[in-house]
Symmetry: C2
Subunit: 343 residues, 2 copies
DNA sequence: TCATATTAGACAACCGATTGTGTAAAGAAA
DNA sequence: TTTCTTTACACAATCGGTTGTCTAATATGA
């Protein structure tokens, strides 16, 4: 096998008897290079199979056109949709995307943040690890004018971009929907002690909706879970159904939990939605396929990714201090399906 | 806001009155540097918040410790699991992962391959786009000793690493299972004209299992789909159920199709599995949750990712020509659930 | 005609880590 | 004491694209 050397602008320069700087400028249509030369250079570059070395460009210009993504995992549907959105927006502006998974570990997140910085990414999009309480490892980005956008699971107190939905409002809307369907005893699952305020916000919305409709808030109808898994959902629902006065509705802050609720109800002979109406969150693919279909809150995951990426790309062009605290809210919608449609 | 400059080895050198080369060597425990100096350098580096610039290192050494992933989309469960596996293996060896989505477009794939090359990735893991027929855009990797691993959707004729399952055997096993459950008229869905041989292989396994058990292969029980979507599955199944002699079993080469089959059957009052047994493929999360649970072929997606990443990392250490055609087969298993369990 | 503007392109420094080569000093072996 | 080895570190080239500065030539305007 021949040992190919990467073709460089110097190779092109030599072949055409021009200076390397001229090649560099010609390739990006610099005004000081004649059309004739530009055409010739581009033609030769193509023939020789020239591919620019982004490392060299990045080193020199300190611009890598790379967006770093730091998220708990790529397998969660919401997050893979988020990636997809980021990726599409990035591709449009000729940015690359580099992805790292914290697996919800704080230490991993710290290490990976360093690795992203080491790679001199142009910007970072992050959804925090469950474990994360301290966010000082993100200072390296802020301190070096690397735009940082938090998405979905965002820190309370960090002064940077955020792209989120209004979780309070979404929780309120979901609960209100159940009330409108005639539910009187609405249960709620939530996450135990969370740093990001996402589940707390949903819970606040739930509570306010109840209060607003003169429905008492009952502690035994609110269950805090350590993990938002199918199994945890089944366990919690059984606990709910074992109550003397079992609930007739449930707002689950995730579709997997809603699925577990629907199936647990079915197993116990409880009719969904007539005896027990359920609404989930996220509009995961499964919510649409399971029977009965599950009502849910749509979460524009791809759009969020797109918005986050665009914030970074836009921000790189014109850094304005006053932008720094910008929060982008994206709309949620109640998607009514069979699991909660009683009327 | 202060304009921080990135801390470099030169900054450390200046502070300690040492040469930059000494700093560089000290940081990687080079034997020619005294322990005392090493300790001092590392200490100071930490204090000053030094983070190595991987661009500079990559440019100089032509090694980036980055694995490029080029796949149709990240949102498909199989592929996001694959990524997860790659990522875990990469992290272990201190590699970064850079992901690009072809969205099943050939042109995108060509462009993104170039972009990966431009980023001087150390290796590439690829699952081909549906559209791809020609694979010459991968030559740039092979020609430059950049290890290339195809996963799952692999080209027939490209001389490089592959990590795949034995699709023929999996198809055979799935079909045999249905036969053992007493099915006499087993239908099969497949993809229309595919470049990668994955669906064709599964079909071959299906056919051979039938032949081996003296069951006639009937063309009207084999339907080729353009897209492997839920809707396409529903349509195909309705077509099957409309036959004079409808099938009593189905081997679907994907779980989404299996789900659509089960639900279509239920809608038409056909009992699953008694009148119609179904087996899918991939063990997507949904197969476990839907009712009835769907029997499926487990596909070790994360393991495949891990294997692919390890091939690259290992190969980078010792490039041997004779390795070049290595094919890694990973095991599949028949996972029997309710949708096909008759006896 | 002279001064200014524009066009064309060369030269060289630069980004930051790496590494081959060189040198000086201290210790070990002869 | 001399030679060899080891230790400890400095110097400078290198990777490849970018960009400020400079020279020269042609074109435009006063």
């Amino acid at each position: 096998m021949e040992e190919h050397r990467h073709v460089t602008i110097y190779d092109i320069a030599e072949k055409l008897n021009l200076a390397a700087s001229t090649i560099s400028r010609a390739l990006k249509d610099h005004h000081s290079i004649s059309d004739k030369t530009i055409k010739k250079v581009k033609q030769t570059a193509k023939e020789m199979g020239f591919v620019p070395n982004t490392l060299a460009a990045g080193l020199r210009g300190n611009v890598t056109k790379t967006i770093g993504i730091l998220i708990p995992t790529v397998t969660q549907p919401f997050l893979s949709s988020l990636i997809s959105g980021i990726e599409i927006a990035a591709q449009k502006s000729d940015y690359s995307v580099i992805i790292m998974q914290s697996h919800d570990s704080y230490q991993m997140e710290v290490d990976l943040a360093k690795s992203l910085y080491s790679n001199r990414v142009s910007g970072v999009i992050c959804s925090l690890a469950m474990e994360t309480r301290d966010t000082s490892h993100f200072k390296q980005f802020s301190n070096n004018n690397i735009p940082l956008v938090f998405v979905d699971r965002v820190p309370k107190d960090y002064d940077t971009f955020r792209v989120v939905i209004n979780n309070y409002l979404a929780g309120y809307k979901a609960t209100k929907h159940l009330i409108e369907q005639g539910c009187k005893r609405i249960a709620h699952l939530t996450a135990v002690s969370e740093f990001g305020n996402l589940y707390n916000e949903r819970k606040r919305g739930y509570i306010d909706a109840l209060i607003e409709h003169d429905i008492p808030v009952q502690d035994n109808l609110i269950i805090s879970l350590k993990e938002m898994t199918y199994e945890a959902g089944v366990k919690a629902c059984n606990q709910l159904f074992d109550l003397k006065t079992a609930p007739d509705g449930l707002f689950a802050p995730g579709d997997i939990l809603a699925v577990s609720a629907v199936q647990t109800a079915k197993k116990r002979g409880i009719k969904v939605p007539d005896q027990f109406a359920v609404i989930g969150f996220n509009n995961d693919p499964i919510s649409e396929i399971i029977e009965p279909n599950i009502s849910t809150i749509t979460h524009p995951a791809e759009k969020m990714g797109k918005a986050a990426a665009e914030l970074i790309i836009k921000n790189l062009k014109s850094v304005k201090e006053e932008d720094a605290k910008e929060i982008t809210f994206l709309n949620t919608q109640v998607l009514i399906r069979e699991s909660s449609r009683k009327i």
